[in-house]
């Protein structure tokens, strides 16, 4: 199976400007040599703590930021070398659902108009055909047809997120970036939305880049999981392999800190100390070494590369 999306050595550095002339005084290495692939109709879960570069990665994939270096290939085509018309096609094929459905929907537009907007811009449909498509999309996310004539404030958080999903699906995308799609929702509603997303993937064959900090939800939704730390991927592999037997000390700490609700699961106490260092001055060698319980002398000098180990890729000198 050829991959839908291939990301290779993707890098994004943001200059930090100070003073009157805006001279660059430093570089934030938000994303620093990240590589992964997403297959058709599968989900890649991207996890890591705030500031690790998850969101910047998703913006690069969505074409909202241009990378400093590296390559993004979509269905074999180099996204960074596309002309205007091709880029337009790419942007139709890659859509997004964001965390906060209160912020991502225009409060002054009716739901029907919100869902139709991508169609108005991208497809030449007459009124009746557009209306039909909107109702079809609302039905797809289990909203009643009358929802089209209501305003976002008339819906609860979970229903609003359904509207955002319907809008993202309007142009039949191949890939949807889900950036924390359930974190802003009530606990009792999250399962509804996660189930909906999985059903839609089965019906439409769409791929997801799923970004979340709830590890159990990521493990539940994803086929593969990539763990990021300070702009780099430290472990990447099949979801059950990474979730069940994490190998990178950071992944282990992360999963140990994800508190299970079962009492019988043995609980490893997270051994990591300290806080995430600033991405302005990431530590030399392995970026995790100042917090790592297994740090060895050469971890402070040699950056480990992602290498295949036990059915996944891991960047750690232990293996």
């Amino acid at each position: 199976m050829s991959a839908l999306l291939e990301v290779e050595a993707l890098t994004k550095h943001f200059p930090v400007r100070r003073g009157l002339l805006g001279r660059a005084t430093g570089l934030v290495r938000a994303v620093d040599g990240v590589s992964f692939t997403i297959d058709p109709a599968t989900t890649l879960g991207l996890v890591g703590e705030s500031g690790c570069g998850k969101t910047t990665t998703s913006k690069l994939v969505l074409g909202l930021e241009r990378p400093t270096a590296g390559a993004i290939r979509f269905q074999g085509e180099n996204v960074l070398a596309l002309d205007r018309a091709q880029l337009r096609r790419y942007r139709r094929a890659v859509q997004a659902v964001f965390q906060d459905p209160y912020a991502s929907l225009d409060p002054r537009m009716r739901v029907g108009t919100i869902v139709a907007e991508p169609l108005v811009i991208n497809e030449r449909l007459d009124r009746a055909a557009r209306r039909r498509r909107v109702l079809e999309l609302l039905d797809l996310v289990s909203l009643p047809a009358r929802a089209a004539d209501l305003f976002p404030h008339e819906f609860s958080g979970g229903q609003r997120q359904r509207v955002a999903i319907a809008r993202a699906l309007a142009l039949s995308p191949r890939l949807v970036v889900l950036d924390e799609p359930v974190s802003a929702l009530d606990v009792s509603i999250r399962a509804q939305i996660l189930n909906l997303l999985r059903d839609l993937q089965q019906r439409l064959g769409v791929s997801y880049l799923f970004i979340a900090h709830d590890l159990a939800a990521v493990a539940h939704m994803s086929h593969t999981i990539a763990v990021m730390y300070l702009g780099q991927i430290v472990e990447w592999g099949p979801a059950d392999v990474v979730a069940r037997e994490p190998r990178h000390p950071y992944t282990q700490a992360l999963f140990a800190a994800a508190l299970p609700i079962d009492f019988d699961t043995p609980r490893a106490e997270p051994a990591v100390s300290g806080e995430v260092p600033s991405p302005l001055r990431p530590p030399a060698g392995c970026r995790f070494h100042p917090r790592c319980p297994h740090a060895m002398p050469h971890c402070a000098t040699d950056p480990p590369a992602l290498r295949p180990h036990a059915a996944r890729q891991v960047a750690c000198h232990l293996y």
Binding site: E49, S50, S156, G158, Q159, D186, V187, S188, I189, R190, A191, Q192, L194, N195, R198, H213, D214, L215, A216, A217, A219, H220, M221, A239, D240, A243, R244, A253, L254, F255, A256, A257, A258, L259, P260, I261, D262, F263, T265, P270, V272, S273, E275, V276
Partner: protein, 338 residues
């Protein structure tokens, strides 16, 4: 109440009612809530947004937003004194000193234009009448107690110079300055990263142990409840629908809402094809149905549930619920929808 622990509780809340008068009608934000927490004990208060968790906590401190909110009834006993009968001046001496609170966002508790040291000295000076060098030493000591490295230096820092985890530690240090009898932590780790959250929970436990605090921990994260709470109260639409020891409630929940909530959460390791979702939407508090508020979403709803609110029923010593399924003599009439 039947769920109270054996020793005399630090805080004993009985039939607390706090209502909000809004343009859309009266919202019964807290509608007959009773619970007690003993020394050194942690009670988890869980529920979704709008279930009344935070309003319950604010009612204990008598800090509900005026004029919309009114505490209409009930008693709040703190070491045998009813706080609802106190004057405002008396309450001011209780807040911070005997009941402290940690909020979700540390920046809502810290003033951005004053150094950490100034803010801490203000509070400690007020509690202990310390001045000068003794005051500064006590502030540094408190920062050290929440494991902030080089505390004396940190006192000169401003809140924006600290990370989120450090800020929340500073708030923790101020909260235990008195030290209080009751500590209310309202989603204190929600804004923190996972590994920092784990560190902070460990710290809270340590502080509680040292000062024998009664701790009320508000959260919607059931994993945190399993990790640090002794007992848990599940709130829905302003009421405690179930309360009991954590392990018991998590393994044998009696209320359909608690059960559904526990089942709807994805679990690491158990990769089910689908999650068991709770149908419907959270209730509109201004337009609650008659009877049980969960009835419209309940999988085991009966005729009676839509008419009459269920009374509190003891399932087992220390484990109570409000559900007709558990009410004495009601189980026999159980019949699901056709």
């Amino acid at each position: 109440m039947s769920g109270s622990p054996p020793s005399r509780p630090v805080i004993d809340v009985r039939d607390l009612r706090t209502h909000l008068v809004t343009r859309w009608g009266t919202v019964k934000a807290v509608d007959g809530v009773s619970f007690a927490v003993a020394e050194g004990e942690t009670l988890g208060l869980v529920g979704e947004s709008g279930s009344g968790k935070s309003m319950t906590c604010l009612s204990l401190l008598r800090l509900v937003p005026r004029p919309a909110a009114r505490i209409l009834g009930g008693q709040v006993w703190l070491d045998g004194e009813d706080l609802l009968a106190k004057s405002e001046a008396e309450m001011r001496k209780i807040r911070g000193r005997r009941i402290a609170m940690i909020l979700q966002d540390p920046m809502s508790s810290l003033n951005p234009v004053f150094s950490i040291g100034m803010q801490m000295r203000e509070a400690i000076g007020l509690y202990h009448g310390l001045r000068g060098r003794g005051l500064a030493a006590r502030a540094a000591e408190l920062l050290a107690a929440v494991r902030i490295p080089s505390p004396a230096e940190r006192l000169r820092a401003f809140p924006h110079q600290l990370s989120g985890g450090m800020r929340q530690r500073v708030v923790g240090a101020m909260a235990i300055a008195a030290p209080p009898r009751l500590l209310i932590a309202d989603e204190p780790t929600t804004s923190l990263d996972l590994t920092i959250q784990a560190q902070y929970l460990g710290l809270l436990e340590e502080l509680q142990e040292r000062h024998r605090l009664a701790l009320v921990f508000v959260t919607h994260n059931l994993g945190i409840v399993a990790r640090i709470c002794d007992r848990v109260a599940v709130m829905y639409a302003g009421r405690i629908v179930e309360m009991g020891p954590v392990r018991r409630l998590f393994t044998r929940p009696a209320h359909p809402y608690s059960r559904a909530l526990l089942e709807s959460i994805p679990r690491l390791g158990a990769r089910a094809a689908r999650l068991t979702a709770i149908e419907g939407q959270p209730p509109d508090l201004a337009r609650l149905p008659a009877g049980c508020a969960f009835a419209p979403r309940c999988a085991s709803v009966m005729e009676r549930c839509r008419v009459e609110a269920p009374p509190e029923t003891v399932v087992e010593a220390g484990h109570v619920t409000r559900c007709w399924l558990e009410a004495p003599g009601a189980g026999a009439t159980a019949a699901g929808p056709p």
